[in-house]
Amino acid sequence: MADLRNNFVGIKSPNPFWLASAPPTDKAYNVERAFKAGWGGVVWKTLGEEGPPVVNVNGPRYGAIWGADRRLLGLNNIELITDRDLYVNLREMKQVKMNWPDRALIASIMVPCEEQAWKSILPLVEETGADGIELNFGCPHGMSERGMGAAVGQVPEYIEMVVRWCKQYTRMPVITKLTPNITDVRKPARAAKAGGTDAVSLINTINSIVSVDLDNFAPNPTVGGKGTHGGYCGPAVKPIALNMVAEIARDPETYGLPISGIGGITTWRDAAEFLVLGAGNVQVCTAAMTYGFKIVEEMISGLSDWMDAKGHRNLDDITGRAVQNVTDWQYLNLNYIAKAKIDQDSCIKCGRCHIACEDTSHQAITQFVNGVRHFEVMEDECVGCNLCVNVCPVENCITMEELPAGTMDQRTGKPVDPNYANWTTHPNNPMARQAAE
């Protein structure tokens, strides 16, 4: 059995699956249920400053997009931080941590961008016995209008400043949660590191209008005839999150900075992908909101079984393993040549590969052969683009097969060059660097 125990910046949990700071972690009742279900840790729903708590809308808070069979692909949220009294939350956190000493309990915090505000709340949180804090610089809706959340996360100087305060006023590990609503995620990550953060977590939700009510001409969710942009999350955002995690993981300036990966994690496989791209653990929300806390069982067993099958003993064996293989386009090997191949035994003859290639790509797949409906790749036209693989409804029916070095590429009429060669030295590149003589 693979060892799934997680040690993230000194915070220990029995597995790397934490629930992200969000509606599922708003109170002891839910968190207790989550721990019973097997979650390794919880980032408590974001606490605000002392005093009258924020209020939420009383109409719909979520909108969604769906795939086939109404599978939820993306969720949009306009709920704010906790709307419960600070002390009620702190009391419950303390009790839950006492009940579940082996689980990670992190406090997410969002208070105004003033030193005193942070200085005041940190001792209160520390008193609960929480294992660490997460700075919510991410929420893109509502709180950002008040100068908090993403409004802070979008200004690297503010991030550095607040992180510095937190490191100064608490002994707890500091995780800085980043917003994806910026152009270059490395900038806020570097700022957090400069401020002394112990880790970053990402991504928070993405600015979005999830759909529009076409009867009332208003964005969804519609509250009294109006809508506002919300925070987008769920499976649809995973690719964006993976890229941002990888960008930070491979940035020389932040290399080695612990990352808690967040964004659309729904299965063990999603989680493993975040881990190998550099995340030390993962946080989940939408999948739990869609299916309930039980899904963690699938995540734990799936990750463990995969690690066993591949001989990975513990999380350190896999964390960051794919980072070295993330590179810039210009370094991709232009002498690598692959061709699509259709397995006729598993082909169901839907014709989608043909029409996708015919209408939108390279006219490299037949529709008829000798008058019979038959889909076959014409190697002399195939550029190996992979579109047919992606549109085929049958997994592994179409595969990309590498042409071994020396074999003839029928499209170019040239043999496959065994040597690595990229754009930087390509003759068509006006900026090509001359290879040293």
């Binding site: 109404r70 169901i348 003859k349 529709q367």
Partner: protein
């Protein structure tokens, strides 16, 4: 209370059982079910289902329209090709047509439920009485259509769309042909056939004259004289004879009459059926008669077919349906003699058959099945008079690819033509295509418009 008394009786079941037994075979999909079912369509390119449909309905498109919440647009896609798409959704043997061709069969041996989805879309449009077609300006051309069945209705509708004036002649009381008088009752509930006729005719420009039989009340020559074109969409009125002893005894009935009577009965309790019933034949009619006899409370129903299972015209689905209702299907048995008692049917003697050098041959061995009612479902014949010198082949009307007969300005389609497939959907395709051909013929005969400077 019902009864298991011998003889041919109505009211074999408690009244409530009739309603249950004759309810919709495939209940309508609700919106959720339709969305789930439509999600399974792959939107194939040059889709095999579409190729398999005799009317070439753009199936991937209409299913995608359902899945995107546009059932009305979906219905239009269907009606564009098949104005009787509602009935076809109910009665088409989809298991041998579109659904057999569905690539999901290859993937997981379960096709997209094309028939039920088609019904979902067409039901919505018809319930809202959404009319998609308006008549073109009157052409002044008049066309006679003989037979208000699927072929005739499809032809008349397409002609009306083109602006021609249509008069339909039909021998029966109601329009619809086999949609009204054939087809098992559980496939067309709630008087759907008549609703559909009303929907089709509401295009306008179509007059239906009932009780008008070709050969009795008028002849083809009369029509050719009065109209600019004629379309013959006649059904098969004759029934093949058994040619055995006892055939005319009380208790030997035509399956088609039984099926028609069931369709015209409101409660079904008034339809008499034997305690033990034998149905002779291997097609859809045999199945429809046998299953409905069972549903009426017959204790024992046996289909006897003179060839093997693989030779039956009834689809696998229909055979399974019969089996699920408790009908026994026996093969390689042909009728030899009806056994009588007091001049009424008491049983049937059958002889075993086999194939010798590809020819059906009796083995000489016989057996008797006790029965108080025997249904003949061994095929129908085209029986018509008043067709003059029209060319026939094998008892059916000869037509070309466009449905044109040997006579000028006379077209034909449906069961009455050579190659007729005994399928509603094929009849619709024939009628529609003949209408297009008639329209082209009219256009070709028009004087060329002269250019105005």
């Amino acid at each position: 209370m019902g009864t298991t008394q011998s003889g041919i009786l109505g009211g074999r079941l408690p009244l409530a059982d009739y309603e249950t037994n004759f309810s919709d075979l495939h209940p309508a999909l609700d919106r959720h079910e339709a969305l789930v079912a439509s999600d399974r369509c792959y939107f194939c390119h040059d889709a095999p289902c579409m190729t398999a449909c005799p009317t070439s309905i753009d199936i991937p498109l209409f299913i995608r329209q359902i899945s995107t919440g546009n059932p009305i647009g979906s219905a239009k896609t269907i009606f564009d090709q098949n104005i009787l798409g509602g009935m076809c959704a109910r009665v088409c043997p989809t298991e041998t047509l579109c659904e057999q061709a569905c690539v999901r069969n290859t993937a997981e041996e379960r096709p997209v439920e094309i028939g039920r989805l088609q019904r979902y879309a067409t039901d919505i449009a018809m319930k809202e009485n959404k009319q998609f077609y308006t008549r073109a300006a009157s052409s002044g051309q008049r066309v006679a259509v003989v037979g208000a069945g699927p072929a005739g209705l499809a032809c008349a509708h397409r002609l009306a769309v083109k602006g021609h004036e249509v008069v339909i002649y039909d021998a029966r009381e109601k329009s619809g042909g086999l949609n009204e008088y054939g087809i098992a009752a559980y496939k067309s509930v709630d008087d759907f056939a008549q609703s559909e006729v009303d929907y089709v005719l509401s295009i306008g420009g179509i007059e239906v004259r009932h009780g008008q039989a070709l050969g009795r009340d008028f002849s083809l020559a009369d029509l050719s004289e009065q109209y600019d074109a004629v379309f013959l969409g006649l059904g098969l009125a004759g029934v093949n004879a058994l040619r055995i002893e006892g055939e005319n005894a009380e208790g030997v009935d035509d399956a088609v009459d039984f099926i028609a009577a069931l369709r015209q009965s409101k409660t079904k309790a008034d339809i008499a059926v034997g305690r033990r019933v034998v149905v002779l034949g291997g097609g859809m009619t045999a199945i429809d008669a046998a299953v409905q006899a069972k549903l009426l409370g017959a204790e024992e129903v046996t289909i006897c077919y003179r060839r093997g299972k693989e030779h039956m015209n009834a689809s696998e689905f229909e055979q399974d349906l019969a089996a699920s209702k408790g009908v026994t299907i026996r093969h390689w048995l042909q009728p030899k003699r009806i056994a009588l008692k007091d001049d009424k049917v008491a049983g049937i003697e059958l002889e075993y058959t086999t194939l010798v050098d590809g020819k059906l041959t009796s083995t000489g061995e016989t057996g008797i099945i006790a029965a108080d009612q025997i249904f003949k479902a061994i095929g129908q014949t085209f029986e018509a008079s008043g067709l003059g010198s029209l060319e026939f082949e094998g008892g059916r009307i000869v037509v070309d690819d466009e449905g044109k007969t040997s006579l000028a300005n006379v077209w034909a389609g449906g069961d009455c033509v050579v190659g007729g497939e005994d399928l509603t959907v094929s009849a619709v395709a024939n009628g529609r295509d003949a209408a297009e051909a008639i329209n082209r013929a009219f256009a070709a005969a028009m004087p060329q418009a002269s250019a105005v400077a």
